[in-house]
Structures are given as structure tokens and as C-alpha cells.
Symmetry: none
Subunit: 210 residues, 4 copies
DNA sequence: AATGAATGAGAATTCATTCAT
DNA sequence: TATGAATGAATTCTCATTCAT
């Protein structure tokens, strides 16, 4: 009975149905303003049913976070360093990062505000989502520096700057910025150029004011 | 009574006392978990007194946001472009941005989560705080490009990338990142270099692997 | 189907299985804190199955009460007055009363609290369990008095005093009294002496202070 | 402010108002069936007000128990052993016990069922109410035996038998027994005679069948 | 008959807000 | 103006009961 694979499937499906509904409602109203009734209605089930699958409202948020964690882990496995052209690689890397963040924008909107405010969730989010991502980047950057592909930089701070930039851009979009929303396809290119080439004029152009 | 300047002063002082208390409590527990009782106790006054100065709990948050807005406006007026060396200017600019954000970290922690979740506040925050800052940056970048000081870039996205980076770094720190907290003095330098020079090797170093 | 004796047996067995489980759980947690799930788990069946045998949770308690009633009735039929020695008779009588009460202590703990609080159950318990027992005692005492075996007493109150004593001692034990639990074997003797001889000194001992 | 004697008085009065209401409602419906709304309505206040004075519904019950404890303690101080005639003393003693129990019948009905079912309350009730009463009795009985006033008996069990008798008679009345309710004035006399003289015929009457 | 997921009524509790003092 | 007790609407969660499988 407990290991009946069909049961298992039904349970997983129902859990996901609830998590989808909760993500939507949390993103719309925030964790606290969203009521169990809201989530149940959105999921098309009765209030009580939620408690068959989750211990509490907080547990629902936790499960959303865990699902995000799984997604993050899965998508983290991409072929780093297979590119020849470093700028092209950066573009690809940033595009992949964005393709992880943007489609999950609703999830972040649902989860971030509460994470920022709840010490326990904060710790969990930082350990399970932020840190692993940061570490992958650090390892890769260190390798690139050692291979002489990129300039000597303060790796930890630089990685955080780049990661923070992605997170910050997402936040600006969540805050209602239309520019980012309208041009997000171009963002990887723009960011890659910014990060790789910097703002300063190319060597040859300096005198010519271009 | 209404125009008595001493009265006015007392009222402002009491309002600020309450806002300070509320900022602290909101940052610690979040807007919803923080109760009027918490704020009153922190401010050393009675619950009811808060309602002499603010119409509602939401109004207290709004007032925190407005006070932040005033701070932002005041500090926004800095002498742009007075620097000769552009990298030095960037360092100074980023340092000034950070000096606006970091000491107000508690305010942001108090305000951001709720702003991300409340459409009305979001609109207000975006119009009054994000947009003005972005526009100042846009105007300045445009000027620099036209003067041939920096490379041709997509100004709106680049500005947002840089602003987002600051916001994102703040967010990472709020999420508990120790690296940023420990090295925030060095951040302006590191970021200025990253943004101005990029990651790619300096021209002369390319073959030598440095 | 309805009169199939094997069916009947199965049904009775299942009902008793549920009643045993419920008695245990009610005694442990009380009627209200005990859930249908608790009872079902204790009985090793599914929640819903209970409703095949009982109309409601209250009905389960009622059935426990009725089963207690049957037990009481059955054990009530003992040979009164067959003893010669009246003190020996009393000892035997009290021992028999206690042997009815003590092994059913769990049942009383399950049932009493709710009976004390529920007018309907109270009425039922009083009519079906208390009254019959009291009446048997009254009839017997009356006979003893008429036969000149015991002193003239207020029969109804005396009977209630003795019955109450048994009930009260059980209650004290349920409340956690170790003395009673440790010495219940001696109780019939002690009580018989108390009730039959009283506390006062035997005639011959009065002067000698013993 | 915290030690303002008028405030203190108001608080005590309001607490007692709530405890009176709760006692009534608990006695009528039992702890679990009684809702906070019931208690509030009975007390003529709003639901929430109860939580200004008590931490929870369980805390209200606890407070009823503590108030009972205070009453018990206060009334326990009576002049034991001042009587000459032992039978008269017993009558007085039992009357005093009953005058403690009977007017508080509602309190017992409110409290006993839950006490019987809740391990924590049980422990508390036993330690604070049952044990002190038992110990006073034990000490007194021991003294009487040593003075040669009463027969050698098993003191602990005898005391419990007498105390249990009182408790059991109260229980029988709570169960709806009319006989006890109608004759409770006579009970001390009847019980004193029963306990002191026992049921057996007075010496001289044995042969004459009286 | 047995199961146990789903239901939704009901209860305890919280807390923003009011208002008499 | 300041106070804080009182209010009661709103919310989370529980659990007896139902019913499709």
C-alpha cells in the first residue's frame, strides 16, 4: 500500500497541483495575505485537503522552495568550459542562468519576500540554492584565471557581483520594470559584453572618441 | 495648534520614533509577523498612540518608504562628472551608491519583502525610488557615451544591470552572505574594475597568459 | 444474509474489536481528544470501517457503556446471603464489587468523564448501571435489617455511602493514588471491618485505651 | 502602573467573572463541548477579551482548579480534635467536608471529568488538592489511635475510604441521584454513625434481633 | 465490506483598531 | 494626548463523516 506506484503518482500529482496553486497565490498576494482558502480555491479542492498533503501553510512554502531547489540542481549540470570563445561562453552561461530564473519568476516572487524575512527559510535558501550556485561559479572562474583566460580578479566578490546582478535584474523586473521585461532576450548578450569587455573604450578607439 | 512650530517638532519627533521602531521590528520579523504591540513596545509607547500619528499599520510602512525616498532624493544630488579619471569616477559613484544602500540595509529588509508583494507599494517604490535613480544614471551614461568616454552600450539595460547588481548584492547580504558583509569596503573598487575593464585580459597580457 | 449466524459472529467480533480499541484510546486520551483515526489505528482497521459498525463516534461510547451494562448485569447475579457470618459476607460482597470495578478500571476511565458531562449518557448510566446496583443493595439491606442481622440504618443513604465509597476509591486510584493501587487486595477486608465494626473501640477495650 | 491597586482589583474581578462563567459552562457542557464563545457570552464579554486574562482555554480550566485549591486550603484550617464526643466530632468533620464539596459541586463537575482524562491536570489535582486533604486526615487519625480513641485500623486505606466515600457520594449526586440531593443535610449524621459505629448491632441487641 | 482521500463545518486564537478614561 | 482593555473579524487547522473505488 505505501509503495503502490499508482498511489505514489496520485500523491505527487496532487502535491504539485497544490504547490502550483500556492505559488500563484503567494506570488500574487504574498505569503501572509494568501489564505489557505485562496490556495484551495485556486487548486479547486477543499481547504482541508491541503492538510492531507502538507503539515501547515509554512510547510507549503517550504515545499515550493524544495521544488525550486530540485529544479536548480537539475539545471545546474551544464557543460562548463566546452566553448572556445570566452565571450560566447559567457553569453551562453548567462542565458542559461536567466533561463533558470525567468521562467521561475513567479516562484521567486512567491518565495523571496518570505525568505528575506524568515531566518529559518533564509538559512535554508542560502545553503541550498545560493551557495551551490556560487560555488560552481567560483570553481569555474578560478580555473579560467589559472588557464590565463581571464584577468586576475577577486573571485568570490566577482562571482557574487555577477550572481547579484542576475538576482537584482530579476528583482527590478518583479518591481515592475518594463525595460527588462521587454528586452530580456537581449540581456545575455548585453551582460556578457559588459562583464567581459567592460565599459571602457576598445584600445584603438580611445583617441577617436568612439 | 496646527501651525505651532513646537507642536510640529514634537509630532515629527514622535513620528520618527515610531518609524525607527517599526523599521527595526519589520526588519526583524517582517511586516505581517510584526504586531502593533511589538512596534509600540520597541518605541516605548502604548499601542493606541501609534494611531494618533498613523492611520494604520500599512500607513506606517508607507511612511518608512517615504522617509527612504527623502533620503534617496537628498543623497542623489552628488557632483557627477567632476572626476577626470573615469575609473576613479566609477569607484566614487559605486561607493556613493553603496553608502546609500548599506547603512539603510535594515530599512530595505523592512520594506523590500512587502514591496515585492504589494502591487500598490511596488508601483510607488518603483516610481519614487527606482525610476529617479535609473534616470539619473541613464542621463549620465548617455552623456559619457556622447563625449566618447565610454563604449557604445545599450544604456537602459546597462544601467539596470549595474543598479541591479547593487540591489542584488544587498539582497545576497540580507540573505546572510558573509563574504559581502566582510568585504564591503572593497566592493566599490572591485565592481568599478569589473564594470570598467571587464574580465578579459588587458591587451598586452593576452599572449603571456596573464 | 441478515440472519446468517456466521455473519452475526463476524459482526460481533468486529464490533468488539472496535470497542476494545476505543475503550483503550478513550481511557488514554479522553473521548474528545481521541480521534476516529486513533481508534481505527488501534484496532488495525481503516477509519471508514468504524462507520460500518457504528453510526457515530458518540455511538461507540454508547456501545462501550452498554457492554459495561451487560457485564454488570451478568456479574450482579451472585448468591446473596448464602454466608453465615455477616462480616465474612460483607468481605465477600465488597470483594465481588471490586472485582467488577477494578478490572474494568480502563472502561470507567473511558466512560466516566464523558458520562459526568453529558446529560443523556448520565441519565442512561444512572438508570442502567447505578440504579440496578443500588436497588439490589437496598433490597438486601432491608432484608438484613428485618432479620435483625444489622442495625437500623437509613438504607438508601447507607447503600449510597457504600457504593459511593467504592466508586470514590476507584476515582482516587484513577487520579493516580498509589496507596490504593498497591493494596487493593486488602481493601475488601479493611472496608468490611470499617463498615461492619466501625471505628469505635470494641466494647471490652474502651477503658484500656486500646 | 503594574502595581496600581485599582487596576489589580479590576483585573482580579474580570478574571473571576470569566472563571465563574467558565465554571458554569464547563459544568454544563464539559470542557470540550464548551466553546470560548460560550464562555464569553456567559460572561457578557467578547471572545477576545478572555485572552487578555488567560493564555488559552486550558489555562482557564487550570485557573478554576487553582481557585478551588485556594478555597480548599482556606477551609482546611478548622479546629480538629477540639470535640469531646468522638461521634459528634465525626459528624462535625464530615459536615465540614461536605460543606466544602457540595457548594462547589458545579466546580467539581466542571473540573473532574477533564482531570480524570488529562495526565497533567491529574497530577496537579492529586498533589494540590487530594494529597493535602488526605495527609491532614492521616495525621489526625494516627493521633486518635495513639490516644486510644479509635480502633487500630489501616490508616492510609481507611482515610482513603472515607475521603473516597465523600467524593463518590458527590459523584453519585452529579450523576443525577435524587436521594442524596434530597437528604444531604442528614448525610453527615448518617455517615458518622456508619463510620463510627459500623453496621453491626449494638452489643446488647444482638440476641433480641434489634 | 473495507478503504482512506476528500470534505467543510467548527473552534481556538490572533491582532488591528477603537474608545472610554 | 496617551493609554491599554475591549472588540470581533479573520485565519489556521482539526477531525467526524461521506463516498467513490
Amino acid at each position: 500500500m505505501p509503495d503502490d506506484p499508482i498511489q505514489e503518482l496520485l500523491i505527487t500529482a496532487r502535491r504539485n497541483q497544490i504547490l502550483d496553486a500556492a505559488t500563484h497565490v503567494f506570488a500574487e498576494k504574498g505569503f501572509h495575505r494568501a489564505t489557505i482558502k485562496d490556495i484551495a480555491r485556486q487548486a479547486g479542492i477543499a481547504d482541508g485537503t491541503i492538510y492531507t498533503y502538507f503539515a501547515s501553510k509554512a510547510d507549503v512554502l517550504l515545499a515550493i522552495l524544495n521544488r525550486l531547489n530540485e529544479t536548480t540542481e537539475r539545471e545546474q549540470h551544464f557543460a562548463l568550459g566546452s566553448e572556445q570563445d570566452l565571450r560566447a561562453f559567457f553569453t551562453a552561461y548567462l542565458r542559461q542562468r536567466m533561463e533558470l530564473l525567468w521562467p521561475n519568476a513567479e516562484v521567486f516572487q512567491a518565495v523571496l519576500p518570505e525568505v528575506l524575512v524568515n531566518a529559518e527559510l533564509r538559512e535554508m535558501y542560502y545553503q541550498q540554492i545560493v551557495m551551490p550556485t556560487v560555488q560552481i561559479g567560483e570553481r569555474y572562474f578560478q580555473a579560467q584565471i589559472e588557464e590565463g583566460q581571464i584577468r586576475q580578479v577577486d573571485v568570490p566578490l566577482t562571482i557574487r557581483a555577477i550572481g547579484g546582478m542576475m538576482l537584482g535584474l530579476l528583482a527590478l523586473q518583479l518591481l515592475g520594470d518594463q525595460e527588462i521585461a521587454a528586452h530580456w532576450e537581449e540581456l545575455p548578450e548585453v551582460l556578457a559584453t559588459l562583464i567581459f569587455d567592460g565599459l571602457k573604450l576598445a584600445e584603438g578607439n580611445r583617441e577617436r572618441g568612439m
